[in-house]
Subunit: 500 residues, 2 copies
Amino acid sequence: MALTDISYPTDVSMNTDLYELTMAQGLWESGRLEEQGCFTVFFREAPFGSAFAVMCGTAELGEFVENFRYTDEDIEYLAELDAPGGGRLFKPAFLEFLSSFKPRVDIDAIAEGELVFAREPMVRVSGPMLDCQLLETALLNIVGFQTLVATKTARVVQAAAGRPVAEFGLRRAQGPDGGVAVARASYVAGAASTSNILAGRRYGIPVSGTHAHSWVLSFPTELEAFRAFAASSPKNCTLLVDTYDVREGVQNAITVAKEMEVAGERLAGIRIDSGDLARLSAYARTRFDEEGLGYVKIVVSNDLDEHTIASLLSQGAPIDAFGVGTKLATCYEQPALGCVYKLAARRSSTSAPWTPVMKFSEQPFKRTIPGVQGVRRYFGKNGGPACDMLYDEAYLAGEGAARGTTLVAVNDAALVMDVSALEARELLEPVVRTGCAVAPREDIEVARARCAAALGALDPEYKRFLHPQAYTVGMERGLAAVRDRLVQERMPAAPPVPHR
Amino acid sequence: MALTDISYPTDVSMNTDLYELTMAQGLWESGRLEEQGCFTVFFREAPFGSAFAVMCGTAELGEFVENFRYTDEDIEYLAELDAPGGGRLFKPAFLEFLSSFKPRVDIDAIAEGELVFAREPMVRVSGPMLDCQLLETALLNIVGFQTLVATKTARVVQAAAGRPVAEFGLRRAQGPDGGVAVARASYVAGAASTSNILAGRRYGIPVSGTHAHSWVLSFPTELEAFRAFAASSPKNCTLLVDTYDVREGVQNAITVAKEMEVAGERLAGIRIDSGDLARLSAYARTRFDEEGLGYVKIVVSNDLDEHTIASLLSQGAPIDAFGVGTKLATCYEQPALGCVYKLAARRSSTSAPWTPVMKFSEQPFKRTIPGVQGVRRYFGKNGGPACDMLYDEAYLAGEGAARGTTLVAVNDAALVMDVSALEARELLEPVVRTGCAVAPREDIEVARARCAAALGALDPEYKRFLHPQAYTVGMERGLAAVRDRLVQERMPAAPPVPHR
């Protein structure tokens, strides 16, 4: 089994936006090859109305960076690109530089399966500005989508309340690699299995499946179809009972279940894929129980998400397992996390001091947090996370203060807290140093266990679907002061740009 | 340039659901290797409230089928899978069969860029049931997502009313191959360019880009950043003016534009990525015009979709081009088309007659159309499409009727039309015969031209965003009668499954 495959294609360097290369050429041309940048990846709001997200994608970053190369074919393509105003877009000497380029960055990231909150650095990339820039697009793609899917899955699994959730969204996924990423991230966040055998082969994720309506339609009668499936897959027999009519389907499944008993086998379950799943599952459960077939499990599917699952279970529907496809695989409710990759500090060389920088934008919501950010998680007496605090490593080092303990909330400067009494843990862990992964890829089971533990320790108030408690993410007071200073310096003259 | 690359990974055979293989084993085991199926791919409702969709993905089907192979590594993986009830899931002799498997199917499909409507066969796959089954998941993934993106793009391009639309959603795409599929499908449907250089290299799509906020932040001042970018990219210089404040940004861009003029160059444009784009674009246009820089284009971006673009232009915003990312790349409003792959006819061998089959389900909405379906488009006097009619090739052949001309609407049996006076054209074209592509991959420019022509010929009533006119898709009267007969035969006894 090839556990070292990544869900990312081999063309990692080309899976990017043109402007990364245009900017790289600009840096190269002006001789700014040693100019250092520190970028952070973050999202501005947790998805799906959730208070939190589940970090995912971290385990792929090492191999992503190590495999980042421009091939001869790539260079040849880039050499042929025309600039809109005339001439070639890229200079031959720059392409020569690119052809031997290897990113020399350091990457620190929150571990896979860990909880992550809005505005905090999920990933921090530092090193030569040019190198950092070239990684942006693919890195956002890897981390953003997998974190989105892991978060959605955590919600679906929570709603299922201990019943297994099978991910089977590949056919509706946004591209084939999207399907692999879905299977991977959903397993980290607690799905029991995937239908995707490529993901199964790559990551060792358990695979599962039943049969399609076409199986039933390919026989003259449903009963013949069920008998044939039971004969072929006696140890993996879950029958889809809604091709024609669930009452008939359940009756045919009962017939086959009894025939299987005679042959020393057991029908594993039935699946219902349409109609009122609360009503039909209750009907099926009653019928199987009446026939002494209490062991037959009832599996349901059909555009399920956390809200439908919670509703079914609150109605007492006797469902044993859920198959979840489209709404998980595409994160239907909100198909993008909106991760961004923003420059937070720069310096002219590795020996110069860091200068914190901040993007203002025309929307206050889009203003960034400056500095070489670290993030620390503080825990309450029950062991659950209480709040997170961003700090500026460079600033704290400069001040000689080993640790600031006054937190100023990112979204409300009036919320100030003393965190000195709380236990704390650093969240960013080294992943890449000077372009090399610091460790082999982490086993997906480790990430899955970390996720289960993190979700288990989180207070229920943060996990409810309707109006969850907001989790406090703050800045260490010194960092907040730096941000305030930058804001004062950039304060524009009122009034704003007038309306016409 | 490698124009023959496909947006699909090499693992085409493994990018599938486990149950396809379980069913294949069932067919193999029962010796039904010559059993023939005819499957159709369709969607039940057009996305985004649109009356139509834009077919996309067809050009990749030939290579998909020709590259469909199980490798030794695949077989080894499958051999190790355990059945839930004990033992191995797959029998060694079946895996031996798989290891030399090549699909022997025929595929007919609607050409790329053509309009397609709900319920009609976008793709028809016929051949050995087993072979058809194994293609299902990947085929749905290819055609479903690209058709969704092409449809979304057609709407965005329509809203932009002749102004170029640049696709730059890769960073928010659902996986890297998702990003390539987005670039490909959006170019077919009228986007002017993509930011994605991998898609540019594979398909020869024009690539475009500006620079990021980080470029500005990496310099002490915005003016220095603009000057450096103009020096490095004088023939491709569009300046992002909202890193700090658009008024300052525009002023700095004016300064640089005048310096460029002295050097014999021209500033191509500016980009605004935040704030009120109507107000800010008007402000920028006024300022550039006041300074005699009427040639500087105004590009905007920031979570745009067809509705925001239409609103901006209805306000008279002087915008020259749009950059569209997240909402196009993820089809944010509806991230899945919901394509299905349903068995519509079967026969015991190639010499036996076809038997039409129909899935009933517990939801009438999910009932399928039976038969070896063809689909014909009828055109009105203005040259635009008037209605589409599905017919059963096998039925018509049997009846000796070359062509039925009475249409019964799929969703309303009371809507009956005589189409004998209309010009008609067959929509399904041969793509694969006995597992081999009938022609080399079509040039993407051909599909793009076909799409532009099809959209141009479509009456505006079908294209408006609010309450578009519904397009009539019907069944040829003989096919409708076959469906009626199947419904009568399967009529369940009332009442339905009772509530508890």
